[in-house]
């Protein structure tokens, strides 16, 4: 690796469109062939009268049916695997709060390739083996932990698995270890800055920070700018999802004009979520990804439910990998708050356990200062007491139970019965006022 080169994998990063597409077709054909080892895909191809040989061009990908999160749940835990379990070395899983969890399996080669993809992202934004990378992201099942750990190590950076939380210790590490780069969710960066301020630490003078990788929760350009101004460093947007390994799927280059999605690893499609037909470049649609480089569990045409659009296919940075806009929302009702995925049904399930509450509720997501917050308004069925302490303890109880379920503490607001909007048919349950979606 030449530290002066802007590319860690120049042979892939600087491929022309033609070379990329040629490689993609080869890898797609190999992937489809390999998928026939998965009982799920074998059945799905047979049911649709489809054979691996039918994929003769990249456009033929549209003959392949979509894969959904429900498919992953239905085949829980190992029904989607394309290799015997004994060849797998890692398993990541979602929490499964809305049904069966989803399981993603990896072979050693998958882990290696994942590390390569993340290393490529970090190199692209300026990290080199001489850097100290502090990963202030959750570890365990959350792929942002191990994903960035392996990627930064692969690149050769000194990597600190600081994990999330304990801000004072984080700041001590940043100062003592000479941390030059951090990965965290945007709201945690804001939190770190607040603690730095109260501790009298000036990030510009007292630290060697130069790069931030932020992702896993939606944030606007304005929020990014504010984070950059706080710490005096560049902040780059990262996209990942556990179904596609985790981080390393898409990442901004130093142009900060869209995220490069690695087309030697994935085929990117943007489709209309209703018709499932492709949309023209520039138009917002649902991101659909096909893995091209995965052994244990390749996924064909996986509907991510994330909404975005194509910004371009060339870039002054010299990479021709497709550039996508930051995620603009979801085509289902999943909310992403501070890196945690939440479905309204999880909240509903908890609220319905309180006999003091009526069945109507409203979830509002807001950006206050720089933090994304959730407020849950609930209607009181009966005024069962006129004692404030009891109302407050009911509120506290609801908060605690919600926290156990969604891992975040929302604001809970009791309102009189009949005050929340009831729409014809399906009630409006979520209002997202966060800046990123404005």
């Amino acid at each position: 690796m030449d530290d002066k080169s802007p590319y860690i994998h120049p042979q892939y990063e600087t491929m022309s469109r033609e070379e990329l597409e040629k490689l993609q077709l080869e890898r797609l054909q190999a992937t489809v062939e390999h998928c026939m080892n998965s009982s799920f895909y074998k059945k799905r191809f047979d049911e649709n009268g489809l054979k691996p040989e039918d994929i003769k061009s990249l456009d033929d990908i549209r003959k392949i049916p979509f894969t959904t999160k429900q498919d992953l749940r239905d085949t829980y835990p190992f029904g989607m695997a394309s290799v015997p379990l004994r060849e797998c070395v890692r398993l990541h899983s979602s929490s499964g709060t809305t049904g069966n969890p989803t399981v993603i399996l990896h072979t050693q080669k998958d882990i290696d390739e994942w590390a390569n993809a993340v290393a490529r992202c970090l190199w692209m934004v300026g990290l080199r083996p001489s850097d100290v990378f502090q990963n202030s992201s959750g570890y365990g099942m959350f792929t942002g932990g191990l994903g960035f750990q392996y990627g930064a190590e692969r690149l050769g950076a000194l990597t600190v698995p600081a994990a999330a939380g304990n801000s004072l210790r984080q700041i001590k590490f940043i100062k003592d270890f000479g941390t030059t780069a951090i990965h965290a969710v945007p709201s945690y960066v804001t939190r770190l800055y607040e603690v730095m301020q109260s501790e009298g630490v000036d990030p510009r003078k007292d630290t060697k920070l130069k790069v931030l990788a932020i992702g896993a929760e939606p944030h606007s350009e304005e929020q990014r700018k504010r984070i950059e101004n706080m710490l005096g460093v560049k902040a780059y947007n990262s996209f990942g999802m556990s179904e596609m390994c985790g981080p390393g799927v898409g990442f901004e280059c130093q142009e900060q004009n869209g995220l490069h999605f690695w087309e030697d690893y994935y085929i990117v499609e943007i489709v209309n979520p209703d018709t499932l037909e492709p949309v023209p470049d520039g138009e917002i649609g649902e991101l659909v990804l096909t893995t091209l480089n995965r052994e244990a569990m390749p996924l064909l045409r996986y509907r991510t439910r994330d909404l975005t659009r194509v910004l371009g296919r060339t870039c002054p940075c010299g990479r021709n990998h497709i550039r996508l806009d930051r995620m603009r929302g979801r085509s289902d009702d999943m909310m992403v708050l501070r890196g945690v995925n939440i479905f309204p049904i999880q909240i509903e399930k908890i609220l319905m356990q309180f006999k003091e509450l009526a069945s109507n509720y409203l979830i509002t997501l807001t950006t206050d200062e720089d933090n994304d917050n959730m407020t849950v308004e609930v209607e009181l069925e009966e005024l069962f007491t006129d004692d404030f302490q009891r109302l407050l303890s009911l509120e506290k109880d609801i908060k605690r139970r919600l926290k156990d379920e969604i891992l975040l503490t929302p604001h809970v607001k009791l309102v009189p019965k009949g005050t929340l909007p009831v729409s014809e048919g399906k009630a409006v349950r979520v209002i997202d006022k966060r800046k990123v979606y404005q």
């Binding site: 009966e382 006129d386 004692d387 407050l392 309102v415 009189p416 009949g418």
Partner: protein, 140 residues
Amino acid sequence: MTIKQLSIFIENKGGTLIEVLDLLSKANIQIIASTIADTKDYGIYRVLCSQAAQAYLILKEAGINVQLSDVFALSIDDQPGRAADAVSRISDAGVSILYLYSFLWKSKGVLVFRTDESEKAKEAIMLNKMKFLTEEDFSV
């Protein structure tokens, strides 16, 4: 020994109080005393009135979150120290007060309070021969 008080749950925003007052006024209910305790998001509006049971039904029917609560209304002289005296007697009997408010009624002070320990409170009132008001005193 206790009297009925309306406790009304209202949202902390414009127009909610007037809705309740309009309903009471149309039903010709007379408010004797009222007080609001509030948090950032909501308040509890407590009302002593004539015909509390009827007022309760009217509000309930209109979809208002309302409760009829049993409260004590002690009559005390309108003099310094009387309230302290009354409260300390109640308190000495081991009664904890959830909330309390006061007003003047026919030149006498009235101390209204609510407790979960009604039996103890009744005992303390009787043993100390304290004067208390009944709903009849407020019927107009």
